[in-house]
């Protein structure tokens, strides 16, 4: 399987791709709420994110400019008239990761939009967090996201979470030409104008997916959140080659026949870490004395703290993302421009695939912000779902190669956020890992009145959500020959997920080489911050 590549001396082939040699520094690898510091074999290719693009100097002016220079639509003010009904929907806490320092981009956009609505005498306005089947955001999370001024004016009667299970709260608009049912929130359908405020953290987000998923329900989502659509997505971070996105586009076009939607999309740079942690995004060979000091201090502190405290510390450090682009208007042209910005920040050209890919799994995912744990299903979706799919053209890993993940795989679930995950993991995954077989149970979970109740009245993800997490690893599972997890604290979690385990990275690499050959090419993905590999 492996083809021999001559080991390169340590130098930059591109700035973001480094090849390990004898003098290379050990590399930091995320390991849940901790970091490993590991020597990598000579010849290992390490891929780093690009440095953050420069943020917009005057984001408020850029937002106002976007609203008044809409793409293939009249400017926002041209759609407004006194007495009209407007629904402003926005992305939820699943992005950006971790939640950004205030003011959040959504607050900045909302302030500009609401000011314009007020100027034009529009006062029938509802603000809806487009959670889809994600958990409801808490009061304090929403306040932080929209800012106190907006929160005080609208909460709770006119600022609330979407409820996909509200009796009579959803309307079926029709079907796409492929027969996908299109359901949408009643308030949005009955509005004269829907304005969607998006943060496009990854290329998978935004476009028709914003409204068509964010304000929809399980009946619509099952049309594309299924194993077949995921298998046909190559990858789902590349919307042009993603069956899931093609389905979302069809759904979005049906929505547009019934509802006037004005999209506002934003792109961020990748300044994920605050100054105290910015060394985490750097090439370790380039560490300054200050970086090394920060790293040692952090590793010392992490060693002394229990896991819960480490998690709390990480969750409390906001990210420092800055807006790099904002566009408004019709879904497709707006999204195309935002994707360009995304790829300018994220795309890393990479020549050739690898036999072995190493990837650390951090403490956070889109689905466990402020949760008690990154549970085993989420570890799985980070490894075989998100990180595997962060490519264009072809995966970083060769077909049948070995994926090495680093995570303690603790058997811990947040019972308030992820109740249905507990049952799915323990009752179903212990019987089968076959997605088609698992899918037969999806409806039972989706309609389980307890899970529906916890979704509607608590802060639980929808009963069907753990199935999506499993499906989202489907093309990863089909592609990867073997997954080895480094440092799992137990045997049963990797076993249930169908993975092998190793105590150390060197043991994992030895195991991987016995599968892929002694001359196997190894690539380590040094993320987050996220990047997308353009594999040629």
């Amino acid at each position: 399987m492996a083809s021999r590549r001559k080991p390169l001396p340590r130098r930059y082939r591109e700035e973001q791709v480094v090849t390990i040699d004898k003098d290379s520094a050990p590399r930091l690898i995320w390991f849940g709420e901790d970091l490993l510091l590991e020597e990598l074999p000579v010849g290992t290719r390490v891929v780093y994110p690009r440095p953050p693009m420069e943020g917009l100097r005057n984001p408020r002016a850029a937002i106002r400019h976007a609203l008044t220079h809409a793409e293939e639509m009249d400017p926002l003010h041209a759609h407004l008239r006194p007495g009209m009904r407007v629904t402003v929907a926005m992305d939820d806490i699943s992005l950006p990761l971790p939640p950004m320092r205030t003011p959040d981009v959504r607050q900045q956009v909302l302030e500009a939009v609401l000011e314009m609505l007020s100027d034009y005498g529009v006062d029938d306005i509802h603000l809806v967090v487009a959670t889809s089947l994600h958990r409801r955001m808490t009061e304090s999370e929403i306040r932080r996201m929209v800012g106190s001024r907006i929160f005080e004016s609208f909460w709770p009667a006119r600022l609330y979470n979407h409820d996909a299970e509200e009796p009579d709260g959803m309307i079926e608009l029709g079907k796409t030409r492929r027969g996908e049912p299109v359901w949408l929130q009643r308030r949005a359908v009955e509005s004269d104008l829907v304005i969607y405020v998006n943060i496009n953290l990854v290329p998978m987000d935004g476009g028709h997916k914003s409204v068509g998923v964010g304000l929809s329900n399980w009946e619509t989502l099952r049309a594309h959140h299924n194993p077949r659509a995921i298998l046909k997505s190559d990858s789902y971070m590349d919307p042009s080659r993603s069956e899931m996105h093609h389905s979302c586009d069809r759904i979005g076009r049906v929505v547009e026949q019934h509802v006037k939607v004005f999209h506002i999309e934003t792109a961020l740079n990748n300044r994920m870490y605050a100054d105290s942690m910015d060394f985490l995004a750097k090439n370790e060979d380039d560490f300054t004395d200050g970086d090394r000091l920060k790293m040692q201090a952090m590793r010392f502190a992490l060693k002394k703290l229990p896991r819960a405290a480490r998690r709390e510390v990480f969750m409390r450090v906001p990210s420092c993302y800055e807006m790099v682009a904002v566009h408004a208007g019709k879904a497709e042209p707006v999204h195309a421009k935002i994707l360009e910005s995304n790829f300018r920040q994220y795309a890393i050209p990479l020549s050739g695939q690898a036999d072995i890919v190493i990837s650390g799994i951090p403490y956070i995912s889109p689905y466990n912000v402020n949760s008690r744990a990154l549970n085993p299903l989420l570890v799985q979706v980070m490894g075989l779902g998100y990180f595997h799919n962060m490519y264009r053209h072809q995966p970083v890993l060769k077909k049948g190669g070995v994926l090495i993940l680093a995570h303690p795989c603790v058997d811990d679930f947040d019972p308030d956020h992820h109740p249905s995950y507990i049952e799915m993991f323990n009752r179903l995954l212990t019987q089968t890992r076959d997605s088609e077989a698992l899918e037969k149970h999806e409806e039972e979970f989706a309609k389980n009145p307890s899970y529906v109740g916890m979704y509607r009245h608590g802060h639980a993800y929808h009963g069907a959500h753990p199935f999506y997490m499993w499906y989202w690893g489907e093309n990863g599972r089909a592609h990867v020959g073997k997954v080895i997890v480094v440092g799992s604290e137990n045997r049963h979690v990797p076993e249930i997920l169908g993975w092998e385990r190793a105590d150390t990275l060197s043991e994992a690499i030895a195991m991987a080489r016995s599968h892929a050959g002694r001359s196997a090419e190894i690539t380590m993905l040094h993320h987050p911050p996220i990047f997308i590999s353009d594999v040629g």
């Binding site: 019972p415 049952e423 309609k447 389980n448 009145p449 307890s450 529906v452 109740g453 009245h457």
Partner: protein, 221 residues
């Protein structure tokens, strides 16, 4: 398609309050002012005793408490039930309760109210929520007047579990796939007999049990 059921406790689960509230309504609606005052004051004075007995045994509490109905006319109790529902129960229904019953029906479950409260009190609530069936306590009436005794079986505590088990067996319902919802640790037997239990607005003991067994915890308030 499996035949499933969802069993709902009432007091504290779907409705705020307990059987004392409904009795207080009847006590204040006695035919004469003096009887009303006497019943009401007697009930008020007995509250500490109710609490003590309830802590000892829910079944014992029911048997003791329903003695207070002794001498009340059956037709009057039934006649006032609709008014009692509007004045006492309806405002106390938790906001999430109707939706929960509705979602259970949508999931294909036979929805059953299982409560230690009295049948004529629960009937309007059951109708309002659209439940398919009701298992409740029944007073004994002789000559049209309540004797203060209850007909067997008494619905409370452990007996709820056996009632639910028998109910499923008689109707060919799949107990292992069925749901139960309750708020109190005294309903632990009811919850543990079904395959899909959930704690609703749970007391501390039940919350602890629910955490222990990974049961869903719902807040319908």
């Amino acid at each position: 398609m499996r035949n499933l059921a969802a069993f709902f406790d009432v007091d504290g689960t779907l409705v705020q309050g307990n059987v004392v509230h409904t009795f207080a309504f009847y006590a204040t609606n006695e035919p004469t002012l003096t009887r009303s005052a006497a019943k009401y004051l007697m009930t008020l004075a007995s509250i500490p005793l109710f609490v003590l007995i309830d802590q000892w045994s829910r079944k014992g509490f029911n048997e003791f408490f329903y003695r207070y109905y002794k001498g009340m006319a059956e037709d009057r109790l039934r006649y006032l039930a609709a008014e009692m529902f509007e004045e006492v129960l309806r405002p106390r229904i938790f906001p999430g309760a109707p939706g929960l019953v509705q979602k259970a029906k949508a999931a294909g479950c036979r929805t059953v109210i299982v409560s230690g409260a009295l049948d004529f009190i629960l009937q309007p609530l059951s109708d309002h929520l659209g439940a398919d069936d009701m298992v409740a306590n029944r007073l004994e009436f002789v000559g049209g007047y309540a004797t203060g005794r209850m007909l067997r079986p008494v619905v409370a505590g452990a007996s709820k579990a056996s009632i639910v088990r028998d109910y499923c067996a008689e109707r060919g319902l799949d107990l292992a796939g069925s749901y139960a919802y309750a708020d109190s640790a005294s309903d632990y037997p009811l919850l543990s007999v079904v395959g899909r239990p959930a704690a609703v607005n749970p007391d501390l003991r039940l919350r602890g049990l629910a955490r222990e067994f990974d049961w869903p915890i719902l807040d319908l308030r």
